[in-house]
Amino acid sequence: MVARFLFEVMDYQFIVNSIPLYVKAMELTLILSFWGILFSIVLGCICAMVDYFKIPVLKTVVKVYVEISRNTPLLIQLFFLYYGLTQFGVRLEGETCAIIGLTFLGGSYMAEALRSGLDAVHKTQVESGLSIGLTNWQLMRYIILPQACAVAVPSFAANVIFLLKETSVVSAIALADLMFVAKDLIGMYYRTSEALLMLVVAYLIILLPISILFSYLEGRLRQHGLGSGNI
């Protein structure tokens, strides 16, 4: 059955012809993910810092934001941004919308990852740092962040992959990403098998190297005894 499927049903000429479409879509998926993940990290860092230093009012704002962002789906966030806000004159382009949505979603996940890292740094580390006369900034830069980041790497990596996968949703707001192209090809030519096969391959090309890279990094960190919590 598999053989029949591979050699009779599949139209390989169609696959070859559709490669340029997928490459172009992959570009968009990567660009959106890149900016989305970058801004998520920035937003996550800010939120984690606000939480760590317990800055009065901002702390509550961050808390509310994290709860809202973690408990609503990206698709609904995008629909609200793209179709909802436009009603009131806020005109956002699809790309901008997708990046804002991804950042809104990813920011809280990144913040949680970093927060768990910061929490894992032992109190004695902070106190020792202060007692040898480091300033707050030096303490953060040389003592806390290096240890916190090492602990945060696994969940950080999981979040990056999670956000990359989440970009598949942006096709719903008319962005021509991988999912969109596959849907288009299915709709136009009824070539379901070929379109979906290419879709899976495209996602594998993006995600497999990243996944392998991160597990390698994690292994390296563990080898050096970082991130195990007993430094």
Binding site: F5, E67, I68, R70, N71, T72, P73, L74, L75, I76, Q77, F79, F80, Y83, G84, L85, T86, Q87, F88, I161, K165, E166, S168, V169, S171, A172, M179, A182, K183, I186, T192, S193, L196, L199, V200, Y203, L204, L207, L208, S211
Partner: protein, 226 residues
């Protein structure tokens, strides 16, 4: 502001809530299947047999690395074609989410079991427990406490992911929201803002208590020193 009232016009509110119920039904069934499947899969992943281990790993990674939306498309459009059967969109989504949930839950179970110190296992065997007794009395009760908070977080993730099923044509809350907006396009031109805002709020109301429970359990057990 008048457009906000569209939500409460006629049967709109009941329809929207009915749509939410469809999403929740999918999530509930998928969670149920993944709980059972995940525990079995997790125990299987801890097996010493290399072949079993590799097979489990391949299953886990392939489910995890492909976006759920792609899996939905594969099951809804492709499986039906290959096997010449009709799969209802709702059934397809339950299958996909169950498989995904089983893999993720299995990984959590594996992590919880393997994080238990080795001496627990050895002490159990030294007392003469059989393997089943060991799991029943020693391993699982301890693993459950480590497992529950992340497992509950997985449940919220599954509820959130059900929003994708609209893209393979399940009539759920988002689809009904679109219908409400389209019907009232002339009488309430700003309806999109309110209806999507309302759905946003609905998802939050459903997921938030579940998240809070996970956090509460984590703190509760941490304070008990488990």
């Amino acid at each position: 502001m008048d457009s906000a009232l569209v939500i409460f016009e006629g049967a709109n509110l009941t329809r929207l809530l009915g749509g939410l119920l469809v999403s929740l039904r999918i999530a509930f069934l998928a969670v149920l299947f993944s709980l059972v499947g995940g525990v079995l899969f997790g125990i299987l992943m801890n097996s010493k047999n290399t072949v079993v281990k590799v097979l489990c790993r391949v299953f886990l990674e392939s489910v995890r690395i492909i976006p759920q939306l792609v899996w939905l498309f594969i099951f809804y459009f492709e499986m039906t074609k290959v096997f010449h059967i009709h799969i209802d969109a709702e059934v397809a989504s339950i299958i996909v989410f169950s498989l995904w949930g089983t893999a993720e839950m299995g990984d959590l179970v594996r992590g919880a079991i393997s994080s238990l110190p080795q001496h627990q296992r050895e002490s159990g065997f030294a007392l003469g427990l059989t393997k089943i007794q060991l799991y029943h009395y020693v391993i699982l009760p301890q693993a459950v406490r480590r497992l529950l908070p992340p497992a509950i977080n997985l449940v919220t993730r599954m509820i959130k992911t059900t929003s994708l099923v609209v893209l393979i044509g399940v009539i759920e809350v988002l689809k009904i929201g679109q219908q409400v907006i389209e019907i009232s396009i002339f009488s309430a031109p700003n309806a999109a803002f309110w209806v999507y805002g309302f759905i946003f709020f609905l998802y939050f109301i459903v997921c938030w208590p579940v998240s809070l429970m996970a956090k509460w359990l984590e703190n509760y057990w941490a304070s008990k020193g488990v």
